[in-house]
């Protein structure tokens, strides 16, 4: 029974990862967006290092939020359009554990993780001190999965709606704000040489909380969208 659940989960994860590899352009778009938005700031506000350093944590996190939101469309939309999603919902497993969690994990591995790998390069552009880099990486490592998780609820609720993209941002961005505040807070504190433990603990707590609740909320949202 439970090993069937694991087999199903792994099938979904492998399938979504393979699909992402087959459509490299879809995977690259949010990353290019992330890079361009961050590269525009030094051009817009001027190359003064002190100003850029002060802006860096906020700019990096806002760009990460927007890039993550941009990639939400591929989480369920194409599977919904071709009927794969209803087949997944009809599989003999708990929807949240066997389908939704693996899909969110695949989404994070192909959107959040590349973003983390890219961020040090862009942080250098914004004059972020090298000492703050590890904190930036850890904060993104804790925060971006939360973005994928919360985003999945929005993506599921707006399935099949016209103008779903705009609606997703209205639904999801307000819920992203705690991650933004504490993620950027951690990097700012680290750049100032302060203790970041409180910020990172809170981000970790958000991750555990959303991991516990979100897959079930998304499952309920998917059932409503498919009804």
């Amino acid at each position: 029974m439970s090993h069937h659940l694991i087999t199903a989960g792994i099938s979904v994860l492998q399938r979504d990862l393979t699909l992402a590899m087959r459509k490299p352009a879809e995977m690259a778009t949010p990353l290019i967006f992330f890079s361009i938005v961050i590269s525009l700031f030094p051009l817009g506000v001027g190359p003064e290092p002190g100003l850029l350093r002060a802006l860096a944590p906020g700019v990096l996190w806002v760009a990460a939020l927007l890039a993550s939101m941009l990639s939400l469309g591929r989480l369920f939309a194409s599977d919904h359009a071709d009927g794969t999603l209803e087949q997944m919902v009809l599989s003999p497993h708990p929807l949240a554990a066997a389908i939704i969690l693996p899909k969110i994990l695949a989404h994070w591995l192909t959107s959040g993780l590349p973003l983390i790998l890219l961020s040090p390069v862009l942080a250098v552009q914004l004059q972020l001190p090298a000492a703050a880099m590890p904190t930036l990486a850890i904060a993104l490592l804790l925060g971006t999965p939360v973005l994928s998780l919360i985003g999945s609820v929005g993506a599921a609720l707006t399935l099949g709606l016209r103008g779903g993209g705009v609606l997703v941002s209205l639904l999801v961005l307000p819920l992203y704000t705690p991650v933004l505040i504490f993620g950027a807070g951690a990097v700012t504190a680290s750049a100032a040489g302060l203790n970041t433990e409180a910020y990172l603990s809170l981000l970790g707590a958000f991750l555990i909380l959303t991991l516990g609740f979100v897959p079930w909320a998304t499952a309920a949202a998917l059932r409503i969208s498919l009804d």
Partner: protein, 189 residues
């Protein structure tokens, strides 16, 4: 749409649901699957409501709707591998044999977006063979198929009924199973 509908189906029975466009055939099938909730009433499987059975009911069920559930970027075998993984070990026919049986073995490495409508439909129907599930619910399964494939499907239906399976399908064409009786249900009032 429809109301006052009541029927029961036994092992080895074949139910053909008929009705004009918009009479609720697809809605009825989706409700039978548990994808849509009925406004009133209940669907039972072995005497228990399907809402209570959940996964136990879905373990017995295979469904094909208007959409084929095929990812165009994947090959035929890759598409079926996902469904094999989702179904668990139910003792169906191995994927290469199913593809050969349905005449899809000649296109193993092409992405399925290049297949014809009929070929895609056959691939969707291959799901019914890779896992052994008693209840088959099919929305217009043979519409896009050529005569040979439709005849083949009739043989597959007959074999499934012989094993004690149940089939509920909608079709605008007449369904003639020479070996088994076909029950019909009309949603037209």
């Amino acid at each position: 749409m429809f109301q006052g509908l009541s029927f029961s189906l036994r092992a080895g029975e074949f139910l053909h649901i008929q009705g004009a466009n918009g009479s609720g055939k697809t809605t009825l099938l989706r409700t039978l699957c548990g994808l849509s909730m009925p406004v009133e009433g209940e669907i039972r499987w072995h005497g228990s409501a399907i809402n209570a059975l959940q996964e136990d009911y879905r373990r017995a069920l295979c469904y094909v709707g208007h959409h084929n559930g095929i990812q165009g970027e994947f090959t035929t075998a890759e598409n079926l591998t996902l469904y094999h993984g989702l179904a668990g070990d139910t003792g169906g026919i191995p994927i290469p044999e199913v593809l050969a049986q349905l005449g899809l073995a000649a296109v193993p490495h092409l992405p399925t977006k290049l297949l014809s409508q009929g070929q895609k439909r056959r691939l969707a129907l291959a799901r019914f063979l890779i896992a052994h599930k008693p209840l088959w619910i099919m929305d217009e399964p043979i519409t896009a198929l050529d005569v040979r494939s439709a005849t083949l499907m009739n043989a597959i239906f007959a074999a499934h009924l012989d094993r004690g399976g149940l089939i509920v399908l909608t079709s605008h064409q007449a369904v003639n199973l020479v070996t088994h009786p076909v029950r019909t249900l009309s949603l037209d009032t």
